[in-house]
Amino acid sequence: MSAQPLQLGSVLAHEEAKLLACVHCGLCLEACPTYVQTGDENDGPRGRIYLMRAVEEGRLGADAPTFARHINRCLGCRACESACPAGVEYGQLLEAARADLTNSRREHGAADRLLHFALRHIWPHPARLRLAFAVARTLRDTGLVRLLRATHLPHLLAPRFDLALALLDGSRAVRLTEQEREPTTQPASANITTSRALLFDGCVTEGLFARVNRATARVLALNGCATERPRGQVCCGALHAHGGDIEGARRLARQNIEAFADDNAAPIVTNAGGCGAMLAAYAHLLAADPQYAERAHSFSARVRDISQQLSVVSLRTGAPINAPVTTYDASCHLLHGQRAASEPLDMLRAIPDLEFVPLTGSDVCCGGAGVYNLIETELSMRVLDEKLKHIAETGATLVMTSNPGCHMQLSAGARLKGLRLRVCHPIELLEASYRKLAEKSSDAGQETS
């Protein structure tokens, strides 16, 4: 362990220069989903930075309830970063503030304690994590979760419990086309491998959305990119960092750097916005670690979202699929953390005749934000309502998003509201299109381009 025991306020104090970068202009306010909901300066990025600065200057205690309340109410979506002309690195400040909070708070709530227990004792251990997700999958895939929710008992018991079940149920695979037809073959055409990439699985993605990981690999392969899944990779640490456990995040980061060390030239491809942004932030996370700083830096430079990786190849066109009207909701960390705004949409151009309607406010958080929805449920649901309203305006019944948290949040929202809305990852749709192409070619019994 290279880190020193933390002092009160010390993590923020370390970030003083970043705090001072804020000139208090307020251009971030409207980008902030919680500020838009409450209109309370304390719930906006500028106000939160002001509170951080007050803590850092000693005008406010790091253990002040106001500080805890408003730092915790931040979604961490980092939309403010895209709006900020001064380039304030808010995400990093937030993590520092949460770390100070974790170190200073006298009391932790039950939900908080449960979360920290899981992050500390389950997440870092691949075997335990696999077991946990296997249990979750069983509950989900046997229909038990759905059955339980149908009794309305969870809702009566605790709406938050109901939400948790809805989130889990929301991770199920959905039918992507209007008429379902089981895939008969894998894409047949031979590929010339021109590049190589290392895939980052992600804990929740591999646990509940393994199909997305497989689709990612297939699409890459079809576009001439050989992939590998390095062994020894663990959770990216985003949940830890956002939850204030910076040391936990650093431990995981070091493990991942080691796991991906065998080929220092190959890009590291993720399909989860949250993981991608975290991996890209390892450089900052380990900047003060003499042993890992340099390696972290080069690691972060290799991180790409799947859409960014595909944007550098000339993407193969798939076959038209009979998908319903579709829209896209950006994952905040993909958009603001990895700055992938147009790439996911460009990727969809490879699907011919896709009926796509742009979503108003697709750059605004859905309220999922990791486990935020289970902790600040009320505010999360207000933000989600806004999102569902905009989705309804598009008339789309299939919404794509590139992060498991957002995926489950939207899907849960649809379930709680009884909406006819399906959610998928854009790569799933692209893969379906390629699959269709393969079917066609095998039907025709001849090669196609």
């Binding site: 208090h24 002001y50 309830p65 900020c84 380039g87």
Partner: protein, 969 residues
């Protein structure tokens, strides 16, 4: 712990939450009955009273001033706001309104433990009226959201301050916010049609909102820019403007700042009217290029001009080429044209993000805001850089060059006390430099707390006292955002002035030392003394000379037999006359060319008429500034003739038969047909000097196109008809005179056809400057071609040759398809419009009235008119502005008075029902006595009365014009 809540017992407790100790030890705050009552009104989750949570409300966008409020209240409606204010007034607790807190003057802070009324939760768009191009919104709505909400209709809200992504419409109204597009389109005040205001006693009043040329003082105009000290605007009716039909955005970069600023003056002097003209200096360019807003500005440039031209596609390329040529002539190295909307947006994002981007250079930033006449930019900029160097400060400039609105940005570190001192010293020196160059201390950020001390640099004690009096009229309680704007060097003198001004006798001050004055004496005035004409004539003759005094009856002025008409030669003489009148308690009717002396209600008494007709000097006209200063008596036509020589003009066409004086145009506030495109006189007065009832001379506004220092008292004098003071000097904003003008005259047998024509025209790609509908009789009178029994629509186009030709050709095609009878293009067309403007001054009309409603309601009003006058529809003379909803009816009266009164009473009711107003401009005396000329709403009348009471407590000026006198002599 959660936000404070208020238990039934009246105790304040904290909500418990899992992570708080308060679960076991509920913290109890002292009983605060006020907070409890506020919570009852808005709900406990809409009140913040926890000291830690209030921390972030201790400052606005400017962090140098910090005052933590007692509480923050979030009302959600006008009613809640009114209830909150009423409660605060009852408790005598002061309050300050706040929007997004992006202001840069410390204006949205509550001093002395006041309460902040935060409007951020009032962000609904209440109504979008596409046909009339307006929207009604709650004032907590964010500026950019408004434009976004109406974009689907092809409209937008023009004022676009750099903080537009976050700042609220309410905050924009409070500060009279500018932005990058106000060079051509004006500032917030030109785009607010009405506001609903909660006054400091909790009463609610609607200001403006009745359409063009609302009756009475321009309360709306003076409210905009009052920085939350007059009341809280909770709803606003805003003007929407069609998105530009075509845009060209140019980026010119220079190796020398001075070259760039000379290019700015040259662009304006050449008659170009860019929608925006912005400058970034080298330091700014480099900071922006390092930020997320990088737009590819050349990092080695020392200055860049961002020029946006908009209008019709036709001729726009020629203008862009002209602009480019001028830039190149003044040393531009490259001129880049934005090739698409995306590139254009990127360039503007770079400009708007400049302030924040500078944040990269230093922990703290001081963003100054001062305005200088455009023509003085090079020398002032040089001075500013010199000052920066002298105080060893890093300084950059990014500003609205077209407006001469400078924004020097000083980088510093708040923790370095010595540096802070240097920043303060440099700021002061910069502001002083700008003032000395003829500018002002703030162009758009406001005075607030930050610039109070600078106000005396440009305003005298008398000016400031007048401002305080106006403030007292709006806020007699003194609770509304106290401690802002007006400096109070003598402790709590502000309150004292407000208190004493109500009891003040007209002039406990010394007389001015005009040549003919007797030694200074203190005037003690019993109000409304008896008037002895002979003695008065002798005394006045000593001031202005014998031959400049006449009897009113000799001048064909209807008034009491013995009234005198006095014509002073200059301000000093005028002031001497006013002082004399004040001393002796004579009533004074200010006048220009004496053309509208019988406007409004009959004067209850007018002992002397002071006319400015001998005060006709053109004091200053600087073409590069597009500004001219004149004495108020200057002939309006002569003024335009003079400025025309430099290719500029005051684009107004008020009622005028060649006699109108500029002062009269402002005092009556009347526009004409072209106000549709250019606006009314209120929008063109940058500054004025006036003599108040007690002889005090005050100055309002300034000499520059953007100015938000102090209250905009210029607006108050607009349409005041001499009841508040005698205007002696005016500074106007001018416009480039269009190269070409032409009018298409369409005739048709019915009104509806022509209204439809106008509607189609407005919906199409046209930019007419006037859309005037004329009754057949009037059309014939002014010499419009076509059949004499048909209505006429006069459509005027103005601009460069290409755009006028293009519009005229397309309009022809458009109208041909309508069921019109004849179509004629008239050019040159000036004689037509002159003839129309002269009509209201013809002496053979006995009754003239005008109404204003929303344009879409005009046809309903015309129907009502024709019904009411069905016996002589053919002989009716009226003209109506289809673009701005004006209607003026001129008639001779054949029937008896009661019938006439009944007629326009019913028409006024119709106008009021349509949300508009009806004003009698001229009527025979017997009629004027039985019917009120103005039809003011009770709430507006109350405010006007208290303004009059403040500025002219003894009703010496034009008594009775708006209200029957309350003071009896």
């Amino acid at each position: 712990m959660r936000k404070v809540g208020y238990a039934q017992s009246g105790r304040v407790v904290y909500h418990q939450s899992a992570e708080s100790l308060s679960f076991f030890f509920p913290r109890v705050l002292p009983v605060d009955k006020l907070l409890n009552n506020l919570c009852t009104i808005v709900g406990s989750d809409s009140v913040i009273a926890d000291a830690d949570e209030l921390l972030v409300y201790e400052c606005d966008g400017l962090t140098q001033h910090k005052h933590r409020p007692r509480a923050v209240v979030f009302p959600q409606s006008t009613e809640e706001t009114a209830a909150v204010v009423k409660e605060l007034a009852r408790a005598r607790v002061s309050f300050a309104p706040r929007g997004a807190g992006t202001g840069l003057s410390g204006g949205a802070l509550a001093l002395d433990q006041g309460v902040i009324i935060e409007l951020a939760r009032m962000r609904r768009v209440l109504k979008v009226d596409v046909e009339n191009r307006l929207a009604i919104v709650q004032t907590g709505l964010v500026n950019a959201q408004l434009s976004r909400a109406v974009a689907a209709h092809g409209l937008h809200y023009v004022p676009d301050p750099s903080s537009g992504a976050s700042c609220t419409i309410g905050g924009n109204i409070a500060e009279n916010a500018g932005g990058i597009h106000c060079l051509k389109y004006g500032t917030t005040t030109d785009h607010i049609l009405g506001v609903r205001v909660v006054l400091s006693d909790g009463s609610v009043v609607d200001l403006g909102g009745t359409g063009a040329e609302a009756p009475g003082y321009d309360l709306l105009g003076v409210f905009v820019g009052s920085e939350g000290t007059f009341g809280i605007a909770t709803e606003a009716t805003v003007r929407l403007v069609p998105l530009p039909l075509a845009v060209r955005t140019l980026l010119a970069d220079f190796a020398d700042v001075n070259d760039a600023s000379r290019a700015v003056s040259a662009l304006i002097a050449a008659g170009l009217m860019p929608a925006a003209l912005e400058m970034l200096d080298g330091a700014t360019i480099r900071a922006v290029e390092a930020s997320v807003f990088a737009a590819g500005l050349p990092p080695d440039a020392e200055a860049a001009l961002l020029i946006e031209l908009d209008g019709l596609e036709a001729g726009l390329d020629t203008e862009a080429a002209h602009a480019e040529a001028i830039c190149r002539k003044h040393g531009a190295r490259h001129v880049r044209h934005a090739k698409d909307e995306q590139e254009r947006k990127q360039l503007w994002a770079a400009r708007k993000g400049a302030f924040g981007a500078m944040g990269r250079l230093a922990p703290d930033l001081m963003l100054q805001d001062a305005v200088v006449p455009r023509s003085r930019l090079p020398e002032v900029l040089a001075d500013i850089y010199r000052i920066g160097a002298h105080y060893q400060l890093r300084l950059a400039n990014v500003f609205h060059a077209g407006d001469g609105n400078l924004h020097p940005l000083i980088c510093f570190d708040l923790r370095d006390k010595d540096e802070v001192r240097r920043v303060e010293a440099a700021s002061k020196e910069i502001v002083q430099t700008c003032v000395e160059a003829g500018g002002t201390i703030t162009g758009e950020h406001g005075v607030g707390l930050d610039k109070k001390a600078y106000l005396p640099l440009i305003f005298s004690d008398d000016d400031l006292a007048a401002m305080l009096q106006v403030r007292a009229a709006f806020d007699p309680t003194g609770l509304c955002n106290p401690g802002k704007i007006i400096p109070t060097p003598r402790g709590c003198g502000e309150a004292r002035i407000i208190a004493t001004s109500q009891a003040q006798t007209p002039a406990q001050q010394t007389m001015p030392t005009a040549n003919a004055m007797r030694p200074s004496v203190t005037i003690q005035t019993p109000a409304h003394n008896a008037f002895a004409p002979d003695a008065a004539q002798r005394q006045l003759a000593a001031l202005v000379g014998d031959k400049n005094i006449a009897l009113a009856c000799d001048e064909q002025i209807e008034s009491t037999q013995h009234a005198l008409v006095v014509a002073p030669a200059n301000v000093a003489e005028a002031r001497a006359c006013m002082c004399l009148a004040a001393r002796d308690g004579w009533t004074v009717a200010p006048a220009g060319a004496c053309t509208w002396l019988d406007a409004g209600n009959p004067l209850t008494r007018a002992d002397i008429f002071i006319t400015t007709r001998r005060m006709t000097r053109l004091i200053r006209h600087e073409p590069a500034d597009l500004v001219a200063t004149v004495e108020a008596g200057m002939n309006f036509a002569a003024f335009n003739e003079t400025t025309s020589r430099a290719g500029q003009w005051l684009p107004l066409d008020p009622p005028d038969d060649g006699r109108a004086s500029v002062g009269g145009v402002v005092a009556t506030g009347m526009g004409g047909a072209q106000s549709f495109a250019y606006g009314q006189p209120r929008g063109f007065v940058l500054g004025l000097r006036a003599l108040l009832a007690d002889g005090r001379q005050i100055k309002a506004g300034g000499n520059v196109v953007k100015n938000v220092a102090g209250y905009d008292l210029c607006k108050l004098f607009n349409g005041s008809y001499g009841t508040l003071g005698l205007i002696t000097e005016l500074t106007f904003k001018l416009r480039p005179r269009p190269a070409h003008e032409a009018t298409i005259i369409v005739r048709a047998p019915d009104v509806e056809t022509l209204i439809n024509c106008a509607r189609q025209l407005r919906a199409g790609q046209f930019l007419p400057v006037a859309l005037e509908l004329l009754a057949p009789a009037l059309a014939t009178t002014i010499g419009a071609p076509g059949a004499t029994d048909q209505f006429a629509l006069l459509v005027r186009f103005a601009g460069n040759d290409a755009s006028v030709a293009d519009q005229a050709a397309r309009a022809r095609v458009l109208f041909k398809s309508a069921r019109t009878v004849s179509l004629e293009l008239v050019e040159p067309d000036a004689h037509l419009w002159r003839a129309l403007a002269a009509q209201p001054l013809r002496t053979d009309w006995q009754l003239i009235w005008r109404a204003s409603v929303r344009p879409s309601n005009l046809s309903a009003l015309l129907v009502a008119l024709h019904q009411a006058q069905r016996d002589h529809v053919e002989s009716l003379s009226w003209h109506a502005g289809l673009g701005d909803g004006r209607l003026r009816v001129m008639q001779t009266i054949e029937t008896d008075a009661p019938h006439v009164v009944a007629t326009f009473t019913s028409l006024r009711d119709t106008a009021h029902k349509l949300g508009g107003a009806l004003i009698v401009e001229r009527a025979p005396d017997d009629l004027r006595r039985v019917s009120d000329a103005w039809g003011l709403s009770a709430a507006n009348a109350r405010l006007m009365r208290s303004l009059k009471q403040q500025l002219d407590p003894h009703e010496l000026l034009a008594p009775g014009r708006f209200f029957a006198s309350e003071v009896r002599g």
